[in-house]
Point group: C3
Chain length 340, copies 3
């Protein structure tokens, strides 16, 4: 699989709200080290994370009010990225500045716009189920030692659940049921409708009936997010129906390292801590399996000869459609960058 250049004109899930406070935190996004913190008024801020003077990481410096003082020579930057002070100098040179990144905080996630700030419209952030009334969610983070695209394609072909997650959410019905792939204006959607099947182990644990109707709708919202809307409806009365959405935020840190912020939102048993705990533990286990598998895949990809030809199957249709969209966005962006 070829490396796809980063799509920069996009919002990326940078951090969970609780991860950013009055300590400086460094995160890499699209190959750029970025330093995050909260201003004294509590709003989050993000600056390019490297002092342009001598390349010292700004996250190793000090937060003073709403400014960052570099920990090496004390050069100080404001939230707009402009230099506020060079110790020992009367004036701060205009060239001494770092990029400031637009942020938007919503539903417990801090989103960063990695491209030209003029395009940073928060309305373009895909609507999620986080913070939605009548829903509750668990969440967490995994780090993938591989390119972001591997995770997106993993999520767009859930037939792998039968083989990688047989102890929790997978069984043969997932692999054997064909998917419907739709390339829509704003997303790629893969739908799998499983009628009257045996429930996988995790659902059985949640108390569904011996047979269920199961639905999976995986939507890829380019370039960074997959939403999996899922239901497991008991076919017998007196058993529950599970209705949940898995939010997969795929943030490329570098070309071969990816931050995976995930959440599972549900609209039932909202106040049941045992159900939350089961989703938290089960999801973490499942995503660890995905990450281990993708790490192994990345290691193999790194050793492939340049002329390797990839071999796909009909079940890859949605994943390949997602890949095509990302490549088009990346190509379009590079063309714009050349023209403008």
């Amino acid at each position: 699989m070829e490396q796809i250049p980063f799509v920069r004109n996009a919002w990326y899930a940078a951090a969970w709200s609780e991860e950013i406070g009055r300590e400086l935190v460094e995160r890499w996004i699209c190959g750029i080290p970025i330093v995050f913190f909260r201003r004294e008024d509590g709003t989050a801020a993000a600056l390019e994370g490297t002092c342009p003077h001598r390349q010292y990481p700004l996250a190793l410096g000090r937060l003073k009010g709403d400014q960052i003082e570099c920990g090496y020579h004390g050069i100080t930057f404001g939230c707009d990225g402009a230099c506020a002070r060079v110790p020992g100098e009367q004036r701060a040179p205009a060239a001494m500045r770092v990029r400031s990144f637009p942020l938007h905080e919503r539903g417990g996630l801090i989103w960063l716009y990695a491209g030209d700030p003029g395009g940073a419209d928060p309305a373009k952030i895909t609507e999620q189920w986080l913070g939605k009334p009548a829903w509750t969610a668990v969440h967490g983070t995994k780090i993938l030692e591989g390119r972001a695209q591997l995770l997106i394609e993993n999520l767009m072909d859930l037939s792998h659940e039968a083989f990688l997650h047989p102890e929790t959410i997978g069984n043969s019905s997932v692999a054997e049921t064909p998917i419907l792939t739709e390339v829509l204006p704003d997303c790629v959607r893969a739908t799998r409708l499983m009628k009257n099947i045996a429930p996988p182990a995790l659902f059985a644990k949640f108390g569904v009936s011996p047979r269920i109707d199961r639905t999976q709708i995986a939507e890829f919202h380019p370039p960074y997010m997959v939403l999996t809307r899922a239901t497991a409806a008991s076919t017998e009365p007196g058993f529950p129906t599970l209705n949940f959405v898995v939010i997969h935020c795929v943030t490329p840190e570098t070309a071969t390292r990816t931050r995976y912020n995930w959440a599972v939102a549900r609209d039932y048993a909202l106040d049941d801590p045992a159900v939350s705990e089961a989703w938290q533990t089960g999801s973490s286990w499942i995503f660890d399996q995905d990450v281990a598998a993708l790490n192994a895949q990345e290691a193999r990809l790194q050793r492939l000869p340049a002329d390797h030809i990839e071999l796909s199957i009909p079940g890859d249709a949605a994943a390949l459609a997602a890949r095509k969209v990302v490549k088009q966005l990346a190509a379009l962006e590079r063309r714009e960058a050349v023209i403008s």
Copy 2:
């Protein structure tokens, strides 16, 4: 020392018989990841170890009967490498296949032919002393973080025993006695005859007389094996004569990583566990010293400038002859590959 391309049309010692069973085991040979297992009838099988669909290691999958089911999307391959099943699909595409490697099991070793299967004639495997009537053997495995050629050349100039193994098999007589080098049609042979010398420490432990006649015949059987036939004959009556063969199977895993399957066979004290234990322990110690030395040598070689000129001495004659043979085989193979 230049990197020599792998010789692929050859049998390589892949594993000891007891290492392969009904668990999937991955081994790299000549730069190729390969998955090993035993069929239900007990015979060993080896397939290219990477699923051609999405490059997942097949060794992370499941053995089902005599087929491997990939652990990611469940694509299943038979022992011939052909795809038996793609989950959710009616037919398995013909292009979806992996290489199947000819194997031959003999004397406790599983040999793999890395080249065109048409050339896989088991009669070409060098005869060894393993499983020979009236002989017994101890064996083990070491991993060298260096190119295979280093180990071959180490074994073709045993003068190093005096300096690297003085506590066991080396003393000054080894270094001071000249060797006779012969380039024969099927092997390179280095012969060292030491008359009336003091025995090295390990032989003294085995109870030989205060003076011995010692013989070393190191044979390089290209491209992968060195046999060292050795005797230590007591010069006084009432003391034993040691007659043994060291089998060195040098299997390149990658350009800079080598699997070293070794065995020491003897035709005396066949049923004495103390003698077996002494050979097992002593050999393992000796080969650990070799591996440490060659690892250090490899690290230095990696930093040499491209125009470095190697400096050899007369004692290198057999090692250099062995190297020349390997280079010729590798060159011949590449030419054939271009023509055919």
Copy 3:
């Protein structure tokens, strides 16, 4: 910051006297592995550390009298680098030799001349305060995972003390006081005179008065050494004046690894072990902070694009002057190498 080629025609601080004895010790200097030992008469010797026969590290061999016997095949070299013996051979070939490096031991340091031995004049070693009458010193060693130039420039702009070492030797007066930079025939000098300032924490611990006059004179003696002559004079009677010199010996091991042999010499409280202990502990803490900062800087530099433009400030004048001198020396040397 561009990589500057090594300046080879120079004396480098290779080791502290107590580090070299009758054990073989390997040190890399300017990209060359070198083996150190003491002759039977106690004088130190240094040879190129790799056997030219098969690239085995000589430090893994044996010291026999004043000769090194290679631990692989026993080839033996004298202190002049000439081969004394090839086991099994009548004569040692003239081509079988390693470089011998001129050494000079003074004030507890062993200096190595890395260039053409004809230029190895010990008088060119910068005079230090080590072993000087009426002075005493503490010393130690740090390893920097970064290019040597980073450490030199760190030392030529001590404004960083205010930000990197605020618990010991830095406070805002250091950063705010301008420096005078002088490019002299034999050194680059940066002078900072701080009048009537509050003492930094470590000086307060040493008992100076509530206000002090502080002087820092950092001298870069190309290509390898920085001397920081410093005083802290109490402005009130009955309080001590601290007068000390920090000797920074910057020895490039490879292009991105640097040995930092440091010493702090003082001319007061010569026999007070508590003062020595305070300088030892405090200096080690300070230099650990420098090394951590420079390691972080090196990691960032490694990821910079080739067309990156460095942004400097007036306070970098001395550091940039030092860099220019090193670049000129390196360029001059390469030109001479081409001509001769």
